[in-house]
Symmetry: C2
Subunit: 183 residues, 2 copies
DNA sequence: GAACAACGAAACGTTGACGTATCGCTCCGA
DNA sequence: TCGGAGCGATACGTCAACGTTTCGTTGTTC
């Protein structure tokens, strides 16, 4: 069998990496700080990952939260609002909130970070696009609405408030946002 | 009189700093690279600014572009679209495009950068908010539209596309965006 | 044109992080 | 129970950027 110590170290390190990323940003993370937080020797990290970026990407991918709350049987409008409330929650509250600027900045310069960041965003975005498309098919949303553009406006508003203003969007405002964009 | 060499050096350095910031981001800027680009001795920089952040903030504030194209006499709808096209242009093309992630990330950790970033965003946002309010007063836009929320959705979409996807919003798409958000 | 201020270049010491290597210790699997 | 794998600690060399200092040169002021 494979030594259980390996998996244990891996998890300690990945968890510490995400926490560290959220607290000090991509530029601020150091292997040494991750090792210290994980209670692990620096050498153990280099044993498992070739370099910092591999570790960070692995950590983020392992621990990221899924943007898929249970959508009960309800109107598409309410499902969209629920989804947005969840995104707003994650963007404001979670450990990953502070990773977002780190990812954005990292993506700017490192092609691997960029690829990861864009793929990750696209995956989360798709659920919303699909949902709106369903609403259009069902006649609940006007056919003139472009699901992709609407999704961009909805998510954009949430991220804009988080990144460019001192007051992130309160999840309670999500309904008003849906009312505005999905006529 | 004060020595003209001082002002000349200042301008060379500030210009170089903005360019450098745009090319390599906040984390990537070094005093030495700015000095080299400005064709100036490193000591000259330290003669004028106490540290890197002071220099960067000064540079950004000195050279930032205003978000105010001439708004001719036309419908509010068209004015909004024009304004958004301009924002999309700046966000995609200008030297400042690559400063945005740098500012976002910097704001995350440095209160001085944050204060600057939020104030700067708010100033640019206000023109759009006012414009939409005018449109509502004129009856051109439905009274149920919240100018602030609509502005957030409009600008948010532009920044979202720039920051989270590989394909920034084409200025030509601005009209569709306005159609979507301002019913 | 003399005194002086600002300058560019370059050397310097310092710091912080990288990634490597070594070395006992401990835990695991056979 | 024993050999080996994984581990933490620690020391090491390297590098890049910081911010300081020195010094001879150039441009400015009076």
């Amino acid at each position: 069998m494979t030594d259980p110590r390996i998996e244990r170290s891996r998890m300690l390190i990945l968890r510490a990496a995400v926490e560290e990323l959220g607290e000090v940003g991509y530029g601020g993370v150091t292997i040494e700080s991750i090792a210290a937080r994980a209670g692990v020797g620096k050498s153990t990290i280099y044993r498992h990952w070739p370099d910092k970026l591999d570790l960070i990407a692995d950590a983020f991918e392992t621990f990221h939260e899924r943007m898929v709350p249970e959508l009960g049987i309800q109107s598409v409008h309410d499902s969209v609002a629920l989804l947005l409330r969840h995104v707003a929650d994650v963007v404001v509250d979670s450990r990953f909130s502070r990773c977002i600027p780190a990812l954005i900045e990292g993506a700017e310069r490192d092609p691997r970070v960029r690829e990861f960041h864009h793929r990750y965003s696209a995956e989360r975005r798709q659920a919303l696009i699909d949902l709106i498309a369903v609403g259009i098919d069902a006649g609940e949303i006007g056919p003139e609405v472009d699901p992709e553009l609407a999704t961009t406006a909805l998510l954009g508003a949430i991220f804009y408030r988080r990144l460019m203003t001192p007051t992130p969007l309160d999840p309670g405002e999500a309904d008003r946002l849906v009312d505005l964009v999905l006529r």
